[in-house]
Amino acid sequence: MERLEVLKTYKIYIGGKFPRTESGRYYQPMNGNGNALGNICLSSRKDVRNAVVAARKAFGDWSGRAAFNRGQILYRIAEMLEARRGQFMDELQQQGSTRAKAEKEVNAAIDRLIYYAGWCDKYVQVLGSVNPVASSHFNFSVHEPMGVVGIFADADTSLIGFVSMMAPVIAGGNTCVAVASENLPLCAVTFSEVLNSSDVPGGVVNILTGKQSELVKPLTTHMDVNAVAYSGSKEVFTEIQQDSVLNLKRVMHFEQDWSQSNAQNLYLIEHFQEVKTTWHPIEDIGGATSTY
């Protein structure tokens, strides 16, 4: 008897769980050959709502963890991705990539996670400063995570864009709601399984699939989202900027080829940090010659 193939149900990822979209809808993105990639959840604004609630709930614990621990967990994500490289390469090829390109993309994604894992317990020292002031204060600035970040992942890549935008956000202690590439969603969905088995607390990364045009509004007007990262057209970004005025979200527009080795740097972490400056009253230190 011929065996029936067991097909995967592509679900979204909210609060460490894999629900279907509350709307019950799906869509079928096509690959270059005109074949449907699968039945993908067509998330609604209520999924956005649920995901933001989950991200907010996770924020206190995640941002409060020791930086070293966050680094370990990011490293663990890379380990889990390494272990599943075959699956990701298959999915990339299914979505129109060649084998060689697929392998390169998975390698780049793993390396990117390692890169940001390393930064977790270092960026505060590098970005922070002790500031010269003309009074008896010890004045210093430290970087703190902004909170919940909305991410619209790069539309043209399935894995590397998503990983490159998400990793610096969570490395900096934020939690996020990430919307996968509309036409190439498979790797983001599968990445949720990697996250789920990597000691990442539920809610730190929430992943939605669906139409960007439908999800931009609820996510960028949401008063409980503190920043938005967007990779895509200028027109949509203008709309995002206007909506973000409501609670003065930090907005970032990326137009870059995420597969390049220089598409990773410390400032991608800094974009999603708030600087806190403290004026700590002291007696004069170091006498009259001191600058701080």
Binding site: R49, T221, H222, M223, D224, L246, N247
Partner: protein
Amino acid sequence: MTKRNNPITLPDFSKSTRVDKVGVEERVSRFQKRSIKGEAKLQGLKMALNMIDLTTLEGKDSPGKVRQMCFKAQHLHDVHPGLPTVAAVCVYPSMVGIAKKEVAGSGVKVASVSAAFPAGQAPIDVKIRDTRFAVDEGADEIDMVISRGKYLAGEYNFVFDEIATIKEASGNARLKVILETGELVTLDDVRRASDIAMYAGADFIKTSTGKIQPAATMQVTYTMLQAIRDFRLETGIKVGMKPAGGISSAKLALHNLVMVKEVLGNEWLTNDGFRFGASSLANDLLMQIMKVETGIYQSSDYFAID
């Protein structure tokens, strides 16, 4: 607070109606499938706001904390005009005087927990003094706990007498009787304790202290609502219901209102018939109200801490 004119025959509480747990769960799950949208939702949210007993019952409660809560009770979200106040503030007896002064003239009532809340492990004369103190300080409502240990030992008469005694000590204050259903465990016992409380003179029956889990599950509230309905049919007296503990979302509050309407009817849909014992519920209701009116999802950053 209906006057009891007719003599009421006391039933044998050991023969209280038994509860079909599976049936209750089935029925309760249906209350959660109603779709309430738009204007109806808005009215429901505002109704729920007006039914809240805004509560602080912590060992660390201070006059400042109580004053802040009393202010919140009267100014839920001044950015949005036309909102109701909550029904009452609920505090420990030692804080009643402060709360009473803060809410004077606003229509917000002051409820005090009593009878050696939350455990109820004290002799009756202490419980009477506890209650009289709260009433003398100006409490409009008394939330007493029953002696669960005695109840579970089968001493129903003891529990009945204790409630009746506290009722007497409460004078004109409205008496809410806390069953602490999380310690009673079974729905049969929730039903029996409800019956005992109502026949002993409760004006409201209340699920929990908020100190024990599980607290106000919909199954428990449904069982108590049924007891209230049957008591009304039997005696003609309207007793109120107060689920407390664990109701922190607007959605759950609306489910509860649907349940009250379908079990008891519109007569109970005011804060004379139904209350929510909660603290964080108020902000979620406010956020939902603002969401309905503006179309934008809200953040707790923009609502007062309670």
